[in-house]
Amino acid sequence: MNSILLTLVQFVATLAIAPFVVGLVRLFKARLQGRHGASPFLPYITYATLLKKQMVISKSTSWVFRLVPFVVLASTLFLVCVLPLVVFGGALSHLGHFMIIAGVLALGTAFLVMGGLESASAFGGMGASREMTLASLVEPAMIATFATFAVVTGAFTVDTMFASANILTSPALLPAIAALIMIALAENARYPVDNPATHLELTMVHEAMVLEYSGPYLAMLEYASGLKLTIFSLLVANVLFPMTLAVDATLIAIIMALGWMIIKVVIVSFLLALLESMIAKMRFYRMQEYLTIAFFFALAGLVFALIHITL
């Protein structure tokens, strides 16, 4: 009963805060670039408006186009259910094996790519091709990162991995965390991999795929990408500060965890905005270098961890 309550708290809190995170990053970025910026609560209004709007469905598309938003959002919700974002030991956290996390992320990406291809335009295809390339190169880095966590902690689900990961006693986790951050940037289509603010065709990846979506479907896809950003922000923060999560369903613990969650997303949003204001986007055809670095960070963590255990 306890664990179900914890999962519910996490589910509702993450779903509620996701648009705020998107708005907050935009606000911080605007302030850092000398603009006033919109309210961080604007995405709530944007999604609500999109839900009311009429949809334009391209005549080139088939049933797959309509299936895409549902699968993408459902796969993101799965991650919300199984990952340790606000609480440890949720009811579904036993499904959070790293292979399943990587697989479900890939499932969502695969459908997003098919949505991009469905539009029959060059933009959709270009975004789809690029996203597919990124996803297939992120996969080895992600598996290696989580394998490091598994070797260090001896746990199999991300939930127990994070609960017992202590960077002070096992420094081998540091390269793995660096890799996790790089993966998080790539998965969420942020700098230096993709520019989330642009609609310039030559630079876009994620935006190009959802170009043909409108109305409620666009709201679903945008919400899914906002949720994913929230998930990864919280994951990166939680691996560094696992003590900020609730472990039992007492009122105080939950309120504390929720408070920490808001603090964490504010800090991570600020750091993300700072990063995006400081560095430039990489050329797409140099992306394999970035992802190779992430991969070798993860691999270095794994090797360090194995040496550490053997010694």
């Binding site: 259910c81 094996h97 029959a120 335009s121 080895p140």
Partner: protein, 660 residues
């Protein structure tokens, strides 16, 4: 209950199907033969399934003097492969009923049907024989009948591919025969159990040689790099139901043979053998998947994907051999379980994809992905089942291949810290390579489905595609359903094929348990479905469903045409760029100016040269060496008869010297 009668009946039915096709008049009897074959293989599938469920581990079928006392028997392992073979063959025969009729003017239908029955009979026999003689006879029946099936359409390309296949498969069969002869001391009638006893007394160097012979023999049949070159030529040229049988089942015969030889017959001595298997497996997986990504011919994509899948299975077996040589039997057991589960998954999804490719090729009148597209709108139900098969082939949860990879990688990671540093290094390499291959396999499958099925059709034929006939579609649906079933019931299947220790039974479901990590695929499946329903209901509640209008895709104010779409070549271009060191593709763009005054207005011709690096680096030099040697040898043929007599005499002396 005695199932051996039913297994024999199944063999007899298959033989009868072949005979009926021989005696039937031209152009007739096709449906009868295929129905008979479907019935006999269906019976075989049921018999082997019942045998597996009964929990027995051995079943003697027959042993008759006129077949040189070759014992025919089923073990748990061969019964599993027997079940896969018969299930796929049964569905392929149903598929063939209408599929072959579409091409009645191209194929000689009588011969095609008869050969298919003999092909299936050969594979059934390989699995039942437990002595080298029967094994090799049926192996040859399988190889030669499939050689003729590859060139069923009598085109020049098919004949060339078939001859290439014939040479490779006979080199392999020769190696297997040599291995048996060395093991048994020149008698091929001893059963495998006796061979295992004889192998104990052989010196390690000889055993290593025998192992290499078996690895080449079975590896060349399984399409392991670098013995794979025939596979992407031969599999696509065969009719689609035969491609399904060759890729989905015939490769498994090589796997079965390799498993029996390495784990039951040859004693495991050193880790060198295991490292060779792992190296070949990883090489096949990486090489196969890169070509699966960049190929544009739908059946070649699937053939390369088979090379990748067999590479993964052999890597799993190699890891099992490696840890077994280190004395870690539990780890080895789990790895073999994962390999078998992957083999089951592969048999179903690859057969389904090949049969589906047959429908795509028939609709587009070409095997090129570049002229397909738009099928998901024109054949929605068929495309839905193909989507499931493609996602399963990409090893995504909750489908079948994912469960095998989960089992293997979870177990590998759990045991990583208890190994010696050298083994750790090998296992880390296996882990990261499999992760890379998994990512690229997803790319290949999404390319196949995305370019082949989605958006606007790229040719006139594709635009007029019709949904396939029910008899063609039903086997594909069945295979898609089996793929989901194998995924959701993976623990149950593992417990049936002798890996009950990987599962734990709870009140209403069976869990996968690997090194203290448990996974219930059914719960995973249910949670994903439930969340999908949550999203579905929420969308219904929060927004107006009917509030939409159709319009063409926005394209900078121009009308949208299929020429705007990304092609398979363009889609895979980043991967081609990133792996250009390996693939060495050559891009040729020829620009000819249309107007002399303005060089920017030009017509461009683009072509891409997909080169087969193994072919260039390994096979062409061998070919040159053979040609050079034969040119040199031909100098002996100078027309002087005394010289010939002298040669005969020298040959006689040399032979006698060696023999005596």
């Amino acid at each position: 209950m005695n199932f051996s009668f039913f297994v024999l009946l199944s063999l007899a039915g298959t033989l009868l199907a072949a005979l009926v096709s021989c005696i039937s008049a031209k152009g007739q009897g096709h449906r009868a033969v295929m129905t008979l074959l479907a019935l006999s293989t269906g019976l075989g599938a049921i018999a082997s399934a019942v045998f597996l469920l009964s929990g027995q581990s051995q079943l003697a079928i027959s042993q008759s003097v006129w077949f040189f006392s070759t014992p025919f028997a089923l073990s748990t392992l061969s019964a599993l492969f027997f079940f896969l073979l018969n299930t796929v063959a049964c569905l392929a025969s149903v598929y063939a009923i209408k599929y072959v009729e579409q091409y009645a003017e191209i194929y000689n239908v009588r011969v095609l049907d008869g050969l298919m029955a003999i092909f299936v009979l050969g594979m059934q026999g390989v699995l039942l024989s437990s002595a080298p003689f029967g094994f090799l006879v049926f192996w040859e029946v399988m190889s030669i009948s499939s050689f003729f099936l590859v060139m069923a359409d009598k085109q020049a390309a098919s004949v060339r591919a078939a001859l290439f296949y014939l040479i490779m498969t006979h080199l392999g069969a020769g190696a297997i025969l040599a291995g048996f002869l060395i093991l048994s001391g020149s008698s091929i009638f001893e059963p495998f159990t006796r061979l295992a006893v004889l192998a104990q007394s052989l010196p390690p160097q000889t055993l290593f040689g025998v192992f290499l012979l078996f690895l080449f023999g079975f590896g060349s049949k399984a399409g392991l790099v670098p013995f794979h070159v025939w596979l992407p030529e031969a599999h696509p040229q065969a009719p689609s139901h035969i491609s399904a049988l060759m890729s989905g089942v015939m490769l498994k015969m090589a796997l079965y043979g390799f498993l029996v030889m390495t784990f039951s017959v040859l004693p495991i001595r050193s880790s060198t053998e295991a490292l060779i298997v792992i190296a070949l497996g990883l090489l096949s997986a990486v090489y196969g998947v890169i070509y699966a990504v960049i190929e544009r011919d739908v059946k070649r994509v699937l053939a390369f994907s088979s090379i990748e899948n067999m590479g993964i299975i052999f890597t799993m077996i190699g890891v099992a051999m490696l840890v077994k040589s280190q004395g870690m039997d539990t780890f080895a057991h789990v790895a073999i379980g994962a390999a078998l589960l992957f083999a089951i998954a592969h048999a179903f999804f690859k057969s389904g994809l090949f049969m589906g490719a047959g429908v795509m090729v028939h609709a587009a009148h070409s095997r090129s992905l570049e002229v397909m597209g738009g099928f998901s709108k024109r054949m929605p139900v068929f495309s839905g089942s193909m989507l499931i098969l493609a996602l399963a082939a990409a090893a995504l949860p909750p489908f079948s291949a994912f469960m095998a990879e989960w089992t293997f990688i979870q177990n590998l990671v759990a045991n990583l810290s208890q190994m010696s540093p050298f083994i750790q290094g090998v296992l880390v390499l296996v882990l990261v390579t499999m992760a890379l291959v998994g990512g690229l396999a997803l790319f290949a499958m999404i390319k196949l489905f995305g370019i082949g099925f989605l958006a606007e059709p790229r040719s006139e034929h594709a635009a007029h595609a019709k949904a396939p006939d029910a008899l063609i579609a039903v086997p594909i649906f069945a295979l898609a359903a089996l793929t989901i079933f194998v995924g959701a019931c993976a623990p149950w299947i593992l417990s049936i094929i002798g890996f009950a220790d990987l599962t734990s039974f709870e009140t209403w479901h069976t869990n996968l348990v690997v090194a203290e990590a448990t996974l219930n695929p059914l719960v995973l499946f249910d949670v994903l479905i439930a969340l999908f329903l949550v999203v579905f209901v929420a969308r219904r509640l929060l927004s107006n469903k009917k509030h939409e209008r159709p319009y063409h895709t926005w394209d900078c104010g121009q009308p949208i045409t299929s020429g705007m779409e990304y092609t398979a070549t363009a889609f895979s271009s980043p991967i081609r760029f990133f792996f250009r060191m390996i693939t060495r593709t050559k891009k040729n763009v020829i620009a000819t100016p249309v107007l002399a005054s303005n060089p920017w207005i030009a017509s461009r011709i683009f072509s891409l040269d997909l080169r087969q690096i193994w072919y260039d680096v390994l096979y062409v030099p061998i070919q040159h060496a053979c040609l050079w040697t034969s040119t040199q040898v031909r100098k002996l043929q100078n027309g002087v008869i005394q010289f010939y007599i002298a040669l005969i005499f020298i040959a006689l002396v040399v032979t006698l010297t060696i023999a005596l």
